[in-house]
Amino acid sequence: MIRWVRWAWVLVLVGVLVRFMGSVPSDLGIDWASVSRIPVQANGRVQPMDTVARNALLFIHGKQSLGDQAAMPWLMTVMADANTADQLPHFVVYHSQLHSLLGLPNASKHRVSFQRIEPYYQRLIELADQFRTVEVPLRDAFQQAVIRLDDQMQLYIRLKNTLQLETGAQLAPEIAAALRERLAYFTVDDAVLAVVPAYPASDWSLVNRIAQAQRAPAQSRVTLEAVLNRTMLFYQALVWYGLVMLMLVASYRFRWLSAFILPTTVWAFGLQTVGLLCRMIIENRPPVTNLYSSAVFVGWGVLALALAIGPRMRSAANRSALLFFSLCINFLTLIIAHHLSIQGDTLQMLQAVLDTNFWLSTHVVIMTLGYSAMLLAGFLGAYYVVRRLMDRHFEAQASDLVRLTLIIVMIGLSLSSIGTILGGIWADQSWGRFWGWDPKENGALLVVLWGAIILHARLAGWIKERGVMVLAIGGNAVVAFSWFGVNMLGIGLHAYGFMNKSMGWLIGFYLLNGFLMYLGLLPKRFLK
């Protein structure tokens, strides 16, 4: 019986994938699948128009859709029907000072249209230009909000002027063309420009004819990217991972649920792997090229590690714990990846110094897998500490778990050391020194030192099982510092992965791990 239900469940999983692959907007009877596939040149690479639409809407609105309007129809409205687009409430304004600047009533956030902002735009530009002279780490929330809104307005205006020049004045054709070329957000085949009169005039069949003639061939990177965009493999995987975590918890009570855990995990892992492979094909690069892809890959690595080690473990309880926490990390890193994707194109071209597939596929991949292992060990440490609080006999029976954690730390240490040395060699080849005490290098060294401290302190007999687990928790904070923390210092040659928000989250994560370590240090008499 359960076998049949399991097969039915697999069918559901496949069905969801198929549903996502076919999820094309149906507005107005336009062939949006073809429109999405039109290749454009933006951000230094050829990409489907759909990617521009999604990234632009994500940047302006914070989401990949505006109400029930999908990104592609939205972009078409912006580019071809500016009058309508100017009234769309897609700008999200947060800061209260910015509200008063724009004459908005006080509220936590407002969704406003271009038309609403336009009277204040001159003032906004002046302020933004002033604030840009402040060094990035020193900008306060209001300054950031003003600059952000100005960036969003600029992007919007450039998008509006991509296919047509939006001006009342009569310009000589060559001047108009030159001006449009400067303002345009992307370049595209001139045949596509004809959609501008057709779209506002509701001539859908002409729009469709243009799109079908101009769309990228079926077997091309552009088409693959358009399909990857709407399939949202990482998002699907995220949802399934969340569900499996719930199943794992619930299966303590409802045994039959455990039959679905492995198939769902493997399916979601497969989706994530295919997503990574597609990105590799589109970019013609190894899996990790920027902060976004490192987040996806760290999570993937954790789960891969857990799936490889899990079957070798004797205790079923530890197997579930290993799976649960690897899913947990993967879930969190995918959420982090989502937030990083709001900053812009996740397949962006690389800076000259990074333009080497050899080092990206060795140093970067190995380093990132090292993070994966240390994080997995850290989460197992947290599990140990919390279980110990709830069950005072847990400590005695956990030696298998500790042994597993030590092995994972050993793997993490090996990967981090070899990755760090490879990184030094790369640095030697591109900057002329093996080691320059750059923050990112120091971060990697800290991970190596922390791993070495755990292993040697255990060998020296200074710590026992509990000590290993408590120090492993510290590994979480060390990895977070090395991965994100040093980027926020904003110094050094490695500072290309810069981010100024999320500082609060990071500090929260340090504090949480510190607190867990403290809990782990509580003597037995405090336990229940």
Partner: protein, 367 residues
């Protein structure tokens, strides 16, 4: 008596070879690297390295509060060596661990040597120009150029070795440093306020001190007031020298004097033929930098193409594409002279072999 000393030595040896020293060293190293990284926000990389990593002690308000990078490195190095001596067994089982730790030793020793002997400088060349020297980014030198007939002799002294009130004999001149500012700007002064007491460029400028800029790519400009005598004691007057003043100034008509970024000379010359800077289409993200140079060594002229991740190695000096200037017409090459540049490559190889060895053994044991 002798045996007691022997016993103590043996005890010390065992302690130094022990794991506990290793853990202490690792923990100290962790704290040092963490604090040293965070302090880069205030100090910048260059000064952090001086204060934390290339030092025996870290000073705080004049007190040595924490062992510096060199002390900790030495501690870990000694520990590694002694542990090797004490524990080394020629067995297959220990081989992986042994290789892993020897690679770290190679890395530590290589790092220490290159820390002392490696020399970094920059060669800034305009397209079509030729250079036979490079310049330091951080160090300044005082030079006296003494021309007799066809030959010019250069007398130079590194300013790191010069204090205020020092008297230095340089060729035909004796230079006494009256005051020294590590960072200063020069301002032209009008006629009425002209320094009557000064000779040369010092007559035309007032010197304003500036705080030393510790940001990594900042350049500080030193300024010195010096009094110059000839070797036989004739007073030639008071002079202002500064790295702001591009050209050497005449002292009497005996020699010229200048303060400039420390130069390193080479027995060959480098000519920049072309600098290339490409960007990804439609963006300002750089996709490619390169310098086409010709190295002229005696009668041999060799062309080289230097680009990102592909430096030129010539006679023990490595040339890297570092930066550019002046609308892509000036290329800035980073020059590094490091005789042990190969040590990390070797260490990486040994570490790789050791890790694989150990992993294979562990896998066998798990099965």
């Amino acid at each position: 008596m002798m045996s007691r000393i022997g016993a103590r030595l043996k005890h010390a040896f065992h302690a130094l070879a022990g794991l506990k020293i290793a853990v202490v060293g690792l923990v100290l190293g962790f704290v040092l690297v963490l604090v040293g990284t965070l302090d880069q926000v205030n100090l910048g990389i260059y000064y952090t390295v001086k204060v934390y990593f290339k030092s025996w002690w870290v000073y705080w308000h004049g007190w040595p509060v924490f062992p510096g990078g060199m002390s900790i490195g030495l501690l870990l190095g000694v520990n590694l060596v002694f542990a090797h001596i004490k524990r080394f067994q020629w067995s297959m089982k220990k081989m992986g661990i042994w290789l892993i730790h020897s690679s770290l030793l190679v890395l530590l020793i290589g790092g220490a040597i290159s820390g002392f002997v490696s020399q970094e400088s920059q060669m800034i060349i305009r397209e079509g120009d030729t250079r036979w020297y490079s310049e330091s980014v951080h160090d300044t030198e005082l030079v006296v150029l003494h021309t007799q007939g066809d030959t010019t002799r250069v007398f130079q002294i590194d300013m790191a070795n010069v204090q205020a009130n020092d008297s230095i004999a340089m060729g035909p001149l004796v230079i006494t440093v009256e005051s020294r500012l590590n960072n200063a700007i020069l301002r032209l002064i009008d006629d009425a306020n002209r320094w009557q007491s000064a000779q040369g460029a010092g007559r035309y400028f007032s010197v304003e001190p500036r705080p030393v800029d510790r940001r990594p790519d900042a350049r500080n400009h030193m300024a010195l007031w010096v009094r110059i005598h000839t070797q036989d004691g004739t007073d030639l007057g008071r002079f202002l020298v500064s790295s702001w003043l591009n050209h050497p100034q005449w002292v009497g008509d005996i020699a010229t004097i200048a303060l400039r970024p420390t130069r390193y000379y080479y027995p060959y010359s480098v000519t920049l033929m072309e600098f290339t800077h490409r960007q990804h289409p439609g963006t300002t993200i750089p996709s490619y930098f390169s310098s086409d140079v010709i190295v002229t060594d005696g009668s041999v002229r060799q062309p080289f193409h230097i680009y990102m991740n592909h430096p030129l190695r010539y006679q023990g000096v490595t040339y890297f594409q570092a930066s550019f200037d002046d609308a892509d017409t000036v290329s800035i090459l980073q020059l590094v002279k490091n005789p042990v540049w190969w040590s990390p490559y070797f260490a990486c190889l040994v570490l790789g072999v050791g890790l694989v060895w150990h992993m294979v053994l562990m896998m066998r044991r798990l099965r």
